[in-house]
Symmetry: C2
Subunit: 361 residues, 2 copies
């Protein structure tokens, strides 16, 4: 086991799994799961917290691989010594999802039957499948029951699905900036990104990411951050390639950078899994009945300017748990960061998480 | 002159213009302007109303070309005998904008110097340029002063620009679901559409249109209209081409249909003109000073669920006119149709327009 914490270096680890039965009924394997851990598993094996990443995230939730790394992991502000997910207290696990492209088996992995990348021969996967692969990882690590499962955006969907499908394996759920099922508008944005990728995988992935970034920011923040500020260029030529406005430079940069680190096919499969996710399916179409299967305490967090996952979606989860007489805390955080707030509002989010975990049995 | 009304057939007409000086300083010509008229110009030539179309609109604002036409023009609910723009009373004019692809000179027109379509050699054009071309059309028609200029979305921008640049030529302005300058978010959506077109003109135009349609509808309406309703297909295969959800079918259909009738380069040039439009530029960066140049009465209309052109943008115009002690009426219409409401809320909009025009001198 790698000893790691706020000041230690982290190492990416791999778990080999012979195979799983997918939601589609198909047997699929062998699989690799890339994951990282932080802190120490207690002798009683009762201090583990599983963090699920979002669409474009990965297992590298905190810390650095080398002292020279420019950036730490994506939730470093919340994971480490003395932080909300205190690595002096908890054993933190984060794994790259099935279908991803950061070490876990996905469309860019080599298909052992053809010795070439799966590409679009990769099977359709669901949020349930992603969860089941990580439950297998917990088995491997000897963790019977998690202290908590946590996630923002798509990560929150995995946390909710774990609560319903594996009620005995998790005591507390922290679902941030997420939904029990995405809206038609959300499906629509995902579908446009997929059409762009199917038309041209490289350019299309950049376009999909640009759309993503628009939906992650609030109109208010965009106005404040960019407004109508122009890019360096100020000519009157009909030049559609160079950015005219600062917001265009930002999106072009973000889109291009994404193509360096992400696989276009992973984008197709993961967004499809998001669209297909509907927790109510586990209750015969009824969300309350689905959540009645859970035995966990819940913390649901919404950010005021998040229009990709609007408040009615958070409240739908909260009401369903309340109607089941379940334990749920709801917090709406005032923020102008839009959906991105789950990555940026660390102070407010950290305080709320610390307090919720302190109340855990 | 073609006699036309609610029950008459309309004819597309053409006006030839030797050339104009563009905002960029470039002389450009010759030009063709496709336009339609409805009703009769009064002997005093004082009953003309100019309607400006939106991004994807055209000169065919009302009526039918042939009795067998399946659909009438795009604002047929408001233009005709006894309607808000009553053709028994007013002489209605609507022209396809410069840069368009429905009869007026645009990137798909033949460049006389090369005998091939302009394509990306078409010059950069602005909302001001579009207005100036239509003022030339008014000259040609012998109309010194319009009773009103009207437009929704981009059409509203042209109406506002006319009011500021040609104050003596228009008595009343009706600006619907529009802004004195678009937001960073709006520029961002336009830019994503342009990137898609530059990557692949045909598929990209469909993608740009899909993005457009998402922004034209409200989240509420999408939820009501599509929700998570599935398309006919219900298989568990990883098939990204066929729609899974009804909202995907809708967008794919709309995107594909648009490529049949619209030119990808026109989309580039017109969205760029929208992004560059900033009425405040005519007041040295100050909107109030820009609008102080106008002599018109204004009606500004906003729709409650229009998130592409939010209420703060409508109010910005209203406040600037009020601070100038100008005459302005403001109406916020309660509607769930989003930005599309300007095409759909004919009853409410018609009543408001009728009342505003009745108060006109």
């Amino acid at each position: 086991m790698v000893i790691s914490g706020a000041n230690d270096l982290v190492v990416k680890q791999e778990f080999q799994l012979a195979g799983i039965k997918l939601s589609s009924g198909q047997d699929f394997g062998p699989l690799v799961v890339a994951y990282e851990t932080y802190g120490q598993l207690a002798p009683a094996r009762d201090n583990a917290i599983l963090i699920f990443h979002a669409l474009s995230g990965d297992a590298h939730v905190a810390g650095r691989y080398a002292p020279t790394d420019k950036k730490p992991g994506w939730w470093d502000s919340l994971v480490g010594r003395g932080k909300a997910f205190d690595t002096d207290k908890y054993f933190i696990i984060c794994a790259n999802v099935l279908g991803g492209c950061q070490g876990s088996t996905g469309p860019s992995s080599i298909n052992p039957q053809t010795q070439r990348p799966y590409g679009l021969d990769f099977p359709l996967i669901t949020i349930k499948d992603m969860v089941n692969v990580q439950v297998a990882l917990l088995d491997q690590l000897g963790i019977e029951r998690l202290q908590a499962a946590v996630g923002g955006s798509m990560g929150g969907m995995l946390a909710l699905q774990l609560a319903v499908d594996w009620p005995e394996r998790v005591a507390n759920i922290i679902a941030v900036a997420t939904a029990a099922r995405v809206s038609a508008q959300n499906i629509a944005f995902n579908e446009v990104g997929r059409r762009a990728i199917l038309s041209n995988p490289h350019d299309g992935l950049a376009i999909a990411r640009m759309i993503g970034h628009i939906t992650y920011l609030s109109d208010d923040l965009m106005r404040e951050k960019f407004g109508r500020k122009t890019a360096d260029r100020q000519s009157f030529a009909a030049n559609f390639n160079d950015p005219q406005f600062a917001v265009e430079s930002y999106l072009q940069y973000k889109g291009a950078a994404f193509t360096e680190r992400f696989d276009a096919n992973s984008y197709l499969y993961i967004t499809k899994a998001i669209d297909l996710f509907n927790l109510a399916d586990d209750g015969g179409g009824n969300l309350e009945q689905a959540l009645a299967k859970s035995r966990s305490r819940f913390l649901v967090v919404h950010f005021s300017s998040d229009w990709l996952f609007p408040e009615y979606q958070a409240l739908e989860i909260v009401k369903a748990i309340m109607n089941n007489n379940g334990h749920v805390s709801y917090r709406a955080i005032d923020s102008s960061y839009g959906h991105d707030a789950f990555l940026l509002e660390s102070d407010q989010l950290g305080t709320i998480i610390t307090s919720f975990l302190a109340g855990a049995k």
